[in-house]
Each structure stands twice: as structure tokens, then as C-alpha cells.
Symmetry: C3
Amino acid sequence: MNTFTLILEILGTFAFAVSGIRLASQKRFDLFGAYVVGVATAIGGGTIRDLLLNIPVFWMSNSIYLVLSGVALAYGCIPSRFTMKQTKAILVFDTLGLALFNIVGLEKTVSLGFPWWTAIVMGTITGAAGGVIRDVLVGQVPLIFQKEIYAMACVVGGVVYFICLHFGLNAIFSGLIGGTAVILMRYLAITYRLALPHLPK
Amino acid sequence: MNTFTLILEILGTFAFAVSGIRLASQKRFDLFGAYVVGVATAIGGGTIRDLLLNIPVFWMSNSIYLVLSGVALAYGCIPSRFTMKQTKAILVFDTLGLALFNIVGLEKTVSLGFPWWTAIVMGTITGAAGGVIRDVLVGQVPLIFQKEIYAMACVVGGVVYFICLHFGLNAIFSGLIGGTAVILMRYLAITYRLALPHLPK
Amino acid sequence: MNTFTLILEILGTFAFAVSGIRLASQKRFDLFGAYVVGVATAIGGGTIRDLLLNIPVFWMSNSIYLVLSGVALAYGCIPSRFTMKQTKAILVFDTLGLALFNIVGLEKTVSLGFPWWTAIVMGTITGAAGGVIRDVLVGQVPLIFQKEIYAMACVVGGVVYFICLHFGLNAIFSGLIGGTAVILMRYLAITYRLALPHLPK
């Protein structure tokens, strides 16, 4: 179980760090600035979660998260014509990170005995808050509130996760299905330009 | 005493959530984005306070705050011609939330044995930090630092609160008088366009 | 040892508060707004550090930090023709604050038994996060990520600090040398317009 969570965290960290580093380099941040934005994107959501849950902050006793952000920086230094197209890469990594971190947040919160709705909020914070911090740091309005379904996908993923648990699936399968729900919602939202309605002005 | 604090928190939560939701909808945020901004405005100040005081974060064990933000979202969906004028509504709810949260922050901090000046800072953070988070999230410079007396009203409310306590009034009356002082200062500041001076450039 | 740390914290607090107050007054913040930005700049980094380390937040039990920010506000009210030139003053105070806070963050984290790399991160956060908060509050993109070597100087200062410790110097001398390294790096970076490279776009 812990190994499973760790693997999710590692993959999500790399994905989010790349997303932050690519956006920062588009905004002409220097190498170290890009690294800081990458780190903040990758560990920001989990840090807020751990502070709220009042547990030791996950990245402070294990250097792998900062090392992984360094690997993501090296990856970001490869000119994009040798990797994926810039915009597409940010999108793919961002979606993976969102799904992975959402599940990690759900499982950590459940294991501490909090109610299901707190877990869904923590999963959403773990998944989406890093992206909000990233946007504030590079000076753009957090787009997650205006564009395609994003944080909402975490909420849906959380609900799916608890439905799976309720019907007797174990945490790993519930996590896999919940994470898939997040990715699916993001894919549908981007492909069919689905968006939530706005409030009347 | 605890019931009194809870009632203040509930009213303040609704007031601040409405203020956040209305501003977010003016900025063309979608429904979920408006909800998140509403929640962040409503619980942001209290969350920072609880983290600083190192006590369990108030909204994580009681779903009423998130539910109330949902009610505020429903209220925000009513076209404004059926409720109050947009700008006036934001102003009224914002002032109520400021006064209510200020008192809650004062009382919580005092009950933990911190000195009076820490309580005044915590009251101001509880009252004003949610609005700062709201402004950062929607991408505008926090206006509370430039316009009419705002956070300063919390400081004055806190001082009035401690003067009342000092002269033997109980916490509830001191809170009512302190909160009234906040509302009065805001009313005078807006009506007579009172503002604090600027520093020499 | 504790006295040494306290003196560093006091000097750094004043330096950072002045830097925040001067920037806020340039942006036409009112007196109280300038004070809040000054306080946030001065105590922001250390507050995040203490929350992450899960220790009592340093400024909540000792009023000297808020008083010092008040002194900085009074200093900021002196027209700049009687003090230093505005831009130069911000630069000098900012560099001093950076070096001083970096060392305080390093020493606090080491004394809690965290590994050296966590201490370097905490030192950098203590030194640089206040400036990031200041920039977000006044509504500008945190320049530390784009301009001359800034947060990177904290990392170098931290490495120098641990090299000194490794070669048997005591904490005070290691701190003095590490802090000097921070100031030197900033001086060289500004004088010779040194900057870190950018990522390929």
C-alpha cells in the first residue's frame, strides 16, 4: 500500500515538475526560477495537504522529490523538438499529475480517519493546488477556475473512489478507477470543449 | 460561548462566500471556480489562523462551512435584479464577514492563552486574509491595502474588544461591541471616503 | 547561540520590513497596507519555515518583530532625500535580510535534526519566500525568478555553511562565512549583471 502511494507520488511529482518548468521557461524564468516553480508545482498541493492534516510534510524527510524535480529540469532543457510539442507535453503531464496526486491525497486522508468529504477536499487540494501556486508565481490568473473542467475532475475522481470502496473494492483498485475517472473527465473536457456554466452576471 | 462563536462563524462564512462568489462571477469564473473562490474567501483567514495557532483546522471536521458555501453559490445564481445590487451586496456581506470573523479570531486566540497583541493580529488575519486570498486568486492587487480603511478596522475592533474586557464586560458583549466598532469604521470610511495617508514617495 | 540567532533575526526583520514598506509605498499603498506588506516580507519566510518544521511560529510569542516593523514604517516615512536613494536602499536592505534570514533558517533546521539538504531548502525559504509574498501582494511577478541570482545565493550560502561546519568551524563562524557568501554573490551578480541562463523555449 505504502509502496503503491510512493510510486504514484514519484510519477506525479515528475509530471507536475515538468509542467511547472515548461510554463516558467515560456515566461522567461531563469534556470533556478524554473526549478523553484517546478518544485512548487510538484510539492505545493501535498505540502498544503500535510500542513492541514498536521502530519510531517512528505518531502522534508525524503530527498527524492527535489531530486526528481532536478531530473524534470534536465528533461526541460532538452529542446522541445526532440520531445513532445510544448503545449501537448504540459497538458499530458499535468493531467497525469492531477490524477496521481488526487489519489494520494484521498488515501492519506482516509488513513488518518477523516470523513469522506474531507478526503475529497484534500484529494482536490493535493491535485489542483500546485497548479494554482504555479499560476500565481508566474503571474497569471489561475486558469483552472475558468477553462475546461479541472479541479472538478478531482472531485468526481474522489466520489468514484469512495463508490468503489463502498462496493468492496480494495484501496488500490479504487484508486486506479478513481484516477482513471479523473483522466477520462479531463480527456472528454478537452476533446469536446466541455466547460462548467458561468454564474449569471 | 462556543455556540456564540459557531453562530458568528456560520454567518461570516456565508457573507464571505457570497462576496467571493460574486467577485469570481464578475471575472467570468465558471461555477466550480466561483465555488472554490467563495470557499477560499470564507475559510482562508480562519485556516491560516488555525495553522499558526497549531490547532485542528476548523472546517475539516465539520462539513457546515463547505455546505454553507454551496448555499452561497445557489444564492449567487439568483440574478442580481432579484436580490441586492451587485456592488452593494459585495460590500454589505464583506463588512459583516469582516466583523464576525475578527471577533471569532480574537476569542479563539485569547482562549489559547496568547497575549492580547497576538489575538489582535489573529483577529485581523481571520477577518482580512480571506479577502486577500480572494483577490490574489482572481488576479487583482489586494484592494484592502489601498482603499478605504479595511484591515485597520479589525485592529481597532480588536483594541475595542480588549478595552471592553478590561472594564469587566464578558466576552459576548465585548465581542458585540468590538464587532460593531468594525462595522462602524467601515461605514464611516466608505460614507466619508476616509482613507489612511500614504507614505512619502 | 540563541542570542546570536535572535540578533540576526532582528536585523533581518528590520531590513526586510524596510524593503517591503518602500516597495508598497512606491505602489501607492496606504500606511497600514505598507505596514502589512512590510510585516509579510519580514516574517513571511520564517512563518512558512516554522509551519513546515511544525514548531511554534517565532513571531507569535515575541512582539519585537511587529514592533520592529513599526520602526521600519517610521523610517519609511522619512523622505528618501534624507536617507538613502530609494532603489539603493531597497537593494541594500534586501541583501542584508536575505543573508541574515538564510543563516537563521539553516541553524533552526539543523538544530531540529533534519538532514543538510532540508536545512538548505529551509534557509532559502526563510530568506527568499518573504520577498515572493511581498511581490504577490503588490501584484508583480516575483522578480527573484527572472533577474540576478537571488534565491540561488541562499543555496550557495547554505552549501558554504555546511562545508565550514564539515571542516570543524563552529556554527557562528560558519554562519558568518555562509552569510558573507550570500552577500558576495548578490554583489557580484548585481555589479557584473550575472544571471543564470534560461531554458530553451
